[in-house]
Symmetry: C2
Subunit: 430 residues, 2 copies
């Protein structure tokens, strides 16, 4: 473990996977005057199926500590704080909250908004009116940035506000933390989708392209391989944004697999891009706008998959080629939840409250214990270590050819997705 990693986080000792720009330790407030007040919790960014676990973790943990009075829920994150559109979560029973925890997406409503300085100042009117001295903000790196802006504003205004970011994102692209709550369940969805689609593709043969969410990082696309067991199980090719995407190379890869197996199942990230860094999806959208007649429109979500299927069809005119774009089901499908993910999403919410009793601010992160059995504990790092930045996959998790995922990634991600259904073939076919 590097000393720089050590200095970045508090809690159980373990190095994080990626470097952070600053090594500042979260400000510890010990022996200060007793800090009490009400709390606001908000949800922000693209929802996940376990983001309500974090919400409920915050609320139920806050109730256990006398330092925290009421817990208000902000409707649609900072938008609700701005408008004083708050729910009194003290009126929710534990049973009701537990049921909400099992419901996908943001029960408080979410938002995609980076507040301006004026809006930040306006939010302090709500904090004063509601006697709020604790803010818990659940979201990804944009939400961490929002929390950080509010923290800096509070310091400048000398408003006694403790600000904690609670991580969530199906993209799994937050720094410092081993992984992000929300990712495990989305990975489970993608893995199960590929398990079934591989059987489907085996049944009727052909070439199938599936487009997976994740603009900048390939973690979710890579989860497509988690259900592979036998040698010719799909996906047979995986393309992540960490590797430059070449259309000719892609088609050649597909034809080679199809030649060998008589079929090919492919996972492609929506964020694949050429050497210029512009995503293929953006290029298609731009071209479609130029070409548009009447209602023809290519910038919707199915365009990349259809485009890639078109490339293959052009090279293999008689082939059966299909494309699916998994879309929003990856982050919202009801009933596909990783038990580990649900538990950890709850944990980071609870931990944020416990840290808030002694610390000024920070982002809760997960640290994986060394050893064979998977175990993660919560730790704390500076907001500025997580805000804005994006973590991508390690190069060692992608094969040398840049078109598949290595066993090292499976070792990392399998415990996060949890148990998968078992696919079995007839003995005569093994």
């Amino acid at each position: 473990m590097s000393s720089s990693a050590k200095s970045r986080t508090r809690g159980t000792a373990r190095s994080s996977r990626s470097a952070a720009p600053r090594a500042a330790r979260p400000r510890l407030v010990v022996g200060a005057e007793r800090f009490t007040g009400n709390a606001i919790v908000g949800q922000s960014g693209g929802p996940t199926v376990v983001i309500n676990q974090s919400l409920v973790g915050v609320v139920l943990e806050a109730r256990r500590h006398k330092e925290i009075g009421k817990v208000f829920g902000a409707r649609h994150g900072v938008a609700g704080i701005l408008k004083d559109d708050l729910l009194d979560l003290s009126r929710e029973s534990a049973a009701q909250l537990e049921a909400v925890a099992l419901t996908p997406a943001a029960a408080l409503g979410s938002v995609r908004k980076k507040p301006t300085r004026d809006e930040c100042l306006a939010m302090f009117a709500t904090f004063r009116k509601r006697k709020v001295r604790f803010l818990f903000y659940i979201g990804g790196n944009d939400s961490a940035e929002t929390a950080n802006i509010l923290l800096e504003c509070a310091r400048e205004q000398q408003h006694p506000l403790r600000v904690f970011h609670v991580p969530k994102t199906i993209d799994n692209d937050l720094r410092v933390t081993d992984h992000c709550p929300g990712y495990g369940s989305a990975a489970k969805f993608v893995a199960q989708a590929f398990q079934g689609d591989d059987q489907d593709n085996r049944s009727l043969k052909g070439i199938k392209v599936n487009v997976i969410m994740g603009r900048h990082a390939g973690f979710l696309t890579a989860a497509a391989v988690l259900g592979r067991r036998l040698k010719d199980d799909g996906p047979h090719l995986v393309y992540v944004p960490e590797v430059v995407f070449d259309e000719q190379r892609f088609v050649a890869d597909v034809l080679a697999v199809n030649e060998r197996l008589g079929r090919c199942l492919i996972a492609v990230s929506e964020g694949v891009h050429g050497a210029d860094g512009v995503t293929i999806a953006e290029k298609i959208a731009a071209r479609a706008e130029r070409d548009a007649h009447g209602n023809v429109q290519l910038s919707g979500s199915g365009a990349l998959g259809d485009h890639l299927a078109g490339l293959i069809k052009a090279a293999l005119p008689k082939g059966r080629v299909r494309a699916d774009t998994f879309g929003y089901l990856q982050r919202s499908f009801a009933g596909c939840v990783s038990a580990t993910d649900a538990r950890e999403a709850r944990l980071v919410g609870q931990a944020a409250v416990r840290y808030a009793l002694k610390h000024d601010s920070g982002t809760v992160v997960l640290q994986r214990a060394k050893g064979r059995a998977y175990q993660c504990t919560a730790a704390l790092t500076e907001l500025s270590n997580v805000a804005k930045f994006t973590k991508t996959m390690e190069r060692a998790w992608i094969n040398a050819a840049g078109n598949d995922i290595t066993p090292a990634f499976v070792k990392y991600a399998a415990p996060l997705a949890g148990e998968l259904p078992r696919m079995t073939r007839l003995k005569g076919l093994r």
Copy 2:
């Protein structure tokens, strides 16, 4: 119950939902010479997540009867029979078969093929060589037609072949039967997808179009409503192929819901079509071919959703509009299985074997018992009652405006999809 319905089916007494063209009763062979021989079982058409339950139902039931010797599995349906590409399923242990039953898609491989007369004659070479006198063919209405062609050919050739069609289709569009194995699990998938997506749409607002499989019948699209509980739960609009689709009317419907709720979740069948009967998807594909430059291609699976999203964006330029096409996940997603569906898929396979001991041919159908508690039993009808024809939704299951589904449909379909996750809102939001 009408007498015509009675004369069409054997087994427990119950009328089927749609009229059949012929009322011929399956030929009963009683007191004839003892009929013994080997069996072939094949899978055909688009797979489902429970089609292997039917396969295993056939195999395990066949083992219980001394009249049936070996059970061969045809690789890729009639294609395997033609090429004598068969697996000896006697070599599969019961434990292995039970594990295969839990695996999505066709374990034997599937096929989309209507055999010619010459091919049928060629298949009798395999039947003779393998001493096959029982054929079980699992599939939809095209597969029933294939089975019927083989039956007629056998009679003409005076080859002693008993031919049984075992129903499956996620489209639920077979006649006579109350519903089709495979539909319940696909309906469960669609319902759960909408449950989660409704929460997601509630979180971040906006307009969301989801395109569902089913070219000619709206059963699967209608399943989108099965998870609705509270008044403003989505989907708010549902479009099935049974009603003529008007793009202007569609946009007006969406704008009205969006005006009222600030959001709108929409289920659209891939088979929606104008008054001329041509599907919107086909029209887009035709236009795209005319307009194509370079690799631009619109005939892939995401095109209809993107087109509809484009119509809404044109009318609401500042709106957040998204489209997803659920695609093949609907018929293959691993781990989303209706327990009722799995049980019934097994049942129709078992029943086909039992009928084959006393009857010449037929299609196994499911009949729903009257009374409050859901219960279905197997019955038998003529192949020609099911082959080729398509059943569509009852008009009473679609609202008068043609843009939503009625409670009568929910009563019909809810027991088929089985238990769904429970979505809960914060008390302050109810």
